[in-house]
Point group: C2
Chain length 151, copies 2
């Protein structure tokens, strides 16, 4: 399924009149490897050869082509992941302490229920729903651990 990813990406980019350039491929590869929503800073840390502005610009293009998806948490910093269809459908557990995001996949049975609920909601409010997102907000295991620095 790996080879297929880049084909799909190229395809979606073509759909909006953009090319799949080396720089964009590097970004996609980083997102694929990391497998969770990450900040631009993290992308640059992995690939210092990329120009910051190009990464930002490419993320805009990739987002418009629906290759990546932007997630924003309470800390106001944008984080990016591969879009639905390029990865498994999933949701997020967002830590309100450190802002980290963990992907969670929902068991099929529950996911089916979710789909039903979301569909019904969209119908009720005449809102053209492209996708849904369930975020659990709370405290991740790291931050839940009692702080050794303060008794």
């Amino acid at each position: 399924m790996r080879a297929n990813l880049h084909a799909s990406v190229a395809d979606r980019l073509g759909g909006v009149g953009s090319r799949y350039t080396p720089g964009r491929r590097l970004v996609v590869e980083v997102l694929e490897e990391v497998g969770r929503p990450i900040e631009v800073e993290e992308i640059l840390a992995v690939r210092p050869d990329l120009a910051q502005s190009s990464v930002y610009r490419n993320l805009v293009v990739l987002e418009r082509a629906d290759v990546v998806h932007r997630v924003v948490t309470g800390d106001g910093v944008g984080r990016f992941e591969l879009s639905e269809g390029l990865t498994e459908h999933h949701h997020h557990a967002i830590c309100s302490v450190c802002g980290s995001i963990r992907d969670i996949t929902v068991p099929p049975r529950l996911e089916r229920d979710l789909q039903r609920i979301v569909r019904e909601l969209g119908r009720r409010i005449a809102f053209s729903t492209a996708s849904h997102r369930i975020d659990l907000m709370g405290t991740c295991s790291d931050c839940a651990r009692p702080d050794p620095g303060r008794p």
Copy 2:
């Protein structure tokens, strides 16, 4: 239920050792009147007498006291609303075109299903879930309307 709001707010503020000052009350009143998540800019537009920095600072305090809740959408601009318990439990329909957020309340039957799903998810991943959030992402009716500016 209106008088009760400010009592609750004062209470929650007291809980974190802060006072319910006039400036904070104004912010809360704006949020109450508007009834949907709004940006600082919008708060200042309604109450130009408030100092920008004070609004930001007070929102931090109000957030820590769990009086307001920060919602961040794809555009990276923070929006604020009154917290759960001060308003009805609700979710959001986020327009991916203009970034606007519309509150939606979920019928009790569906909400009950949601609660069950969320609870089960949290249990599965050992994540201490404080709250959940269901966002519908799509296009609001305003943005869905064909753009008159471009044939």
